[in-house]
């Protein structure tokens, strides 16, 4: 087939990269709704807190483990940073992608386990969903986030499996990353509002 002035074969359509892959667009819309959902929860908490008579946290209620959760927060943030480096390695086709992704997943798993242990301790101290406004808000907001972390953890495990099989493409990896960055990014806001 003869070529044109630019060296392209005649009759062959040019292809451009899509502005946004479908999976990424879908995940961005989902994350936007999730941001609004968490914003609603935080707003309700802020109003509830400001309405509390006798100060906050309410008297007679257990204190939340601020220092221990700070460590857990660091683990989750580190997980997000490691995932970023995993993506960079993936784009270069580096074999370290698998190791970095595994570290990111392990840090996410640590967060979930630590959070579970924290909940057990708080329930033993008497902080339950029905023990008062603090318990109600705490388990609702932090529990909702924990569910998201669990979902993100499963998604990352799925990407790891695909990577191990040599079947992971960026159109699968990107949405998974967006969700995990959301989970990581929303946590410091929750920590600041609920724990501090």
């Amino acid at each position: 087939m003869a070529d044109d002035a630019l060296g392209r074969p005649y009759g062959v359509p040019a292809r451009r990269e899509p502005i946004l892959p479908n999976g990424v667009l879908g995940m961005l819309i989902f994350v936007a709704t999730e941001i609004m959902f968490f914003s609603g929860l935080i707003s309700a908490f802020v109003i509830g807190k400001s309405n509390a008579i006798g100060g906050w946290p309410p008297p007679g209620q257990p204190r939340l483990p601020v220092e221990e959760t700070a460590l857990n927060t660091a683990a989750l943030l580190a997980s997000g940073v490691v995932l970023y480096f995993a993506n960079r390695a993936f784009r270069k086709g580096s074999p370290s992608t698998k190791r970095l992704l595994a570290v990111s997943i392990a840090l996410g798993g640590f967060f979930v386990v630590f959070q579970g242990a924290e909940w057990v301790a708080l329930i033993r101290e008497g902080l339950t969903l029905t023990s008062g406004q603090l318990g109600g808000f705490f388990y609702l907001i932090v529990g909702t986030h924990a569910l998201h972390v669990l979902a993100g953890f499963i998604v990352l495990l799925y990407t790891y499996r695909r990577l191990s099989e040599g079947d992971l493409d960026r159109f699968t990896f990107w949405p998974a990353q967006i969700f995990w960055y959301f989970v990581v990014g929303v946590w410091p806001v929750l920590y600041w509002q609920v724990y501090l």
Binding site: G7, R15, R16, I19, L20, A32, G40, V46, F90
Partner: protein, 81 residues
């Protein structure tokens, strides 16, 4: 009669926060209202701005001719990196 009723009706309270005697509570209500109003607008605005920028970048990028055989095999959203 409507005017008479308007003068006799009590003031309606939309929610407890609007009528809260606590200044901190009233302020929290105002702050969260502003926050929940601005946030979706900022998200949508930011997304549209980013889309326009990305679209212009792609417009400027040179077109790449792809052999027909490759198109048939992989399609425009192939698993290439």
């Amino acid at each position: 009669m409507a005017v008479t009723l308007a003068f006799t009706a009590d003031l309606a309270r939309a929610c407890p926060s609007c009528a809260s005697p606590l200044e901190e509570n009233r302020q929290a209500f105002v702050d969260t209202t502003i926050f929940l109003t601005v946030l979706p607008l900022a998200m949508i605005g930011g997304f549209v701005w980013w889309l326009r920028r990305r679209s212009k970048e792609i417009e400027r990028a040179p077109e790449i001719a792809v052999p027909e055989g490759l198109l048939r095999d992989a399609g425009p959203f192939s698993k290439s990196r």
